[in-house]
């Protein structure tokens, strides 16, 4: 079935970007801060909220009740497995997970994952949507954070621990990872760009779903989120972004 109109749900840089990319891809796309304003006729809804569970679950419930039976829901699975997110819908076969970090513009590939009860037709619709945005897709097993967000969050977590332990300073850590292993960005600078809250959500999700201590978030990341130091979006993270600095 062709995708006619998409609704992007969420208050985030990623949500705004998805609207622009959808329009550039020739789709009719609208941005919504609240599920109540999503048109019931939308062919596909992309829901971008990472966490917390209570809010995301409520959002899915509302959305599910609002849109028509044939609407596909593509939901951010940074912090919850697509199966769990699907369980918050009365029609889990229409729910597909996607996991990516802002910004989407520089990414060639987007990861998609269907939960245990996801329908093949829904997955194909989600693939078609990202193709229209000029992206390749990769189908992977359903876990919180999928592949790239999970691996990057663990690298950032280790960098935050090393910083917290006084192993080296911010600039030294970032320079070392760029020059020593050719990373496209230093991990702390990278964390500031994608958002410390998003990174913490991935780590907490993987920790909760697996019970494995390898995902335990660094206390520094938790404190930064509590302090509102979320990175570029809030003007302060590992670095400061006020007054046009950095």
């Amino acid at each position: 079935m062709a995708i006619n109109s998409v609704a992007i749900l969420g208050v985030s840089r990623l949500a705004e970007e998805l609207v622009k990319l959808s329009q550039a891809g020739g789709l009719s796309a609208t941005l919504h801060a609240d599920a109540a304003t999503v048109p019931s006729s939308a062919s596909l809804v992309v829901e971008t909220q990472a966490a917390p569970e209570s809010e995301k679950r409520e959002l899915l419930n509302k959305l599910d009740a609002r849109v028509s039976g044939s609407t596909v829901i593509v939901s951010s699975c940074l912090a919850f497995s697509p199966t769990l997110i699907g369980s918050w819908s009365a029609a889990p076969e229409r729910v597909v997970g996607f996991a990516t970090f802002y910004p989407l513009a520089d990414k060639k590939v987007v990861e998609l994952s269907g939960g245990l009860r996801a329908g093949e037709a829904s997955l194909e619709q989600a693939e078609e949507f990202f193709r229209r945005l000029g992206k390749e897709t990769a189908r992977v097993k359903d876990t919180a954070g999928l592949i790239f967000p999970r691996i990057l969050s663990l690298i950032i977590n280790e960098a935050a621990r090393a910083l917290d332990e006084g192993v080296a300073e911010e600039e030294a850590i970032d320079a070392a990872m760029k020059l020593g292993v050719n990373y496209p960005s230093g991990p702390l600078r990278w964390a500031d760009r994608v958002g410390i809250d998003e990174v913490l959500a991935v780590l907490e999700g993987a920790h909760r779903e697996s019970g494995d201590d390898r995902y335990r978030p660094s206390p520094l990341l938790k404190k930064m989120v509590a302090a509102g130091w979320l990175g570029e979006a809030s003007g302060k993270g590992f670095y400061s972004y006020n007054e046009g600095k950095r």
Binding site: I147, F148, E158, E165, A168, M177, L179, G180, D213
Partner: protein, 288 residues
């Protein structure tokens, strides 16, 4: 006895030692390369000659510069020859007793102003330094492979390394044309520690059936912007080298689950599927 700051000694003429000696000679230091047999020294110097010849043929080096660099490089079989050197960098095989023996001897032979550095990646600088009577002048200079091309050097401060030794060594690294970053002596320093999840989590996802080798590499390049996928990179580094680094971090952090090695990697190591160098790793290569 005062030291000559323009003289650098390198112990070990293997890939890392020869590479570091090349960097030093190219930067204008009189460089002395030590190993336990003339054959090893000749092989190391031969590698440098081949590299420089390639640079000259690509027009990156004049014949005169090439000759000047080679004239600054000499080999020796005697550790005693290093007294009076400003900096000595040890790059012998990763065996802790061998390294400690060398530092004990260097410490006894060299004047107090000579800075003694280890290029170790898997041992504690503090443990190596403790073999010296004056651990204040011992530190880590961790070069990356291949030293001639990689800009980074981790300057590692052991528990008893003096601030003055750190400052002097940092200055010399800059004069060698490299980018120094200061790190405390902790397992894996900066890079080997923070890079661990890139490999380990990819292995974990593979082991859980999360995605195939090809898909994980495609995602990390296409979504993450990494120049190579984790499996391509492990094949390039060598499964044995990568597995040893992971095991060393796991031991050094007292079995913290964050550093737990993967059974997949161990199985490949035991089977001799070591990556590109054996023709078989996560991918297969050529007709080896």
């Amino acid at each position: 006895m005062s030291v000559n700051p323009s003289k650098i000694g390198v112990l070990g003429a293997g890939t890392m030692g020869a590479g570091i000696a090349q960097v030093a000679a190219q930067a204008g230091f009189d460089t002395l390369l030590y190993d336990v047999s003339q054959e090893f020294i000749d092989r190391g110097l031969g590698r440098i000659r081949t590299f420089l010849e390639g640079s000259r043929k690509r027009g990156k080096l004049s014949a005169e510069q090439e000759q000047q660099i080679l004239a600054r490089l000499k080999g020796t079989l005697k550790l005693e020859d290093f007294s009076g050197y400003g900096l000595i960098i040890e790059a012998v095989p990763e065996q802790i007793e061998l390294k400690r023996e060398i530092f004990k001897k260097l410490d006894a032979d060299c004047g107090i102003e000579t800075i003694l550095a280890t290029n170790t990646s898997s041992f504690s600088v503090t443990v190596i330094a403790a073999a010296a009577r004056r651990p204040e002048r011992v530190l880590g200079l961790h070069f990356f492979n291949p030293p001639a091309l990689m800009a980074l050097v981790e300057v590692v401060q052991g528990e008893r390394t003096s601030a003055a030794a750190m400052e002097t060594a940092t200055g010399i690294v800059r004069r060698m044309g490299k980018t120094p970053v200061a790190a405390k002596d902790t397992p894996g320093f900066i890079v080997n520690r923070i890079a661990r999840p890139f490999y380990n989590e990819a292995l974990r996802i593979l082991g859980d059936g999360g995605a195939t080798v090809e898909t994980i590499d495609k995602v990390m390049k296409g979504a993450g912007g990494f120049p190579m996928g984790p499996f391509e990179l492990m094949d390039l580094i060598g499964i044995d080298i990568n597995f040893a680094a992971t095991q060393s971090l796991f031991e050094a952090f007292f079995h913290d689950p964050r550093f737990r090695p993967s059974p997949i990697q161990r199985r490949m190591f035991l089977a001799g599927n070591l990556g590109r160098k054996t023709g078989r790793g996560f991918y297969t290569y050529g007709d080896k």
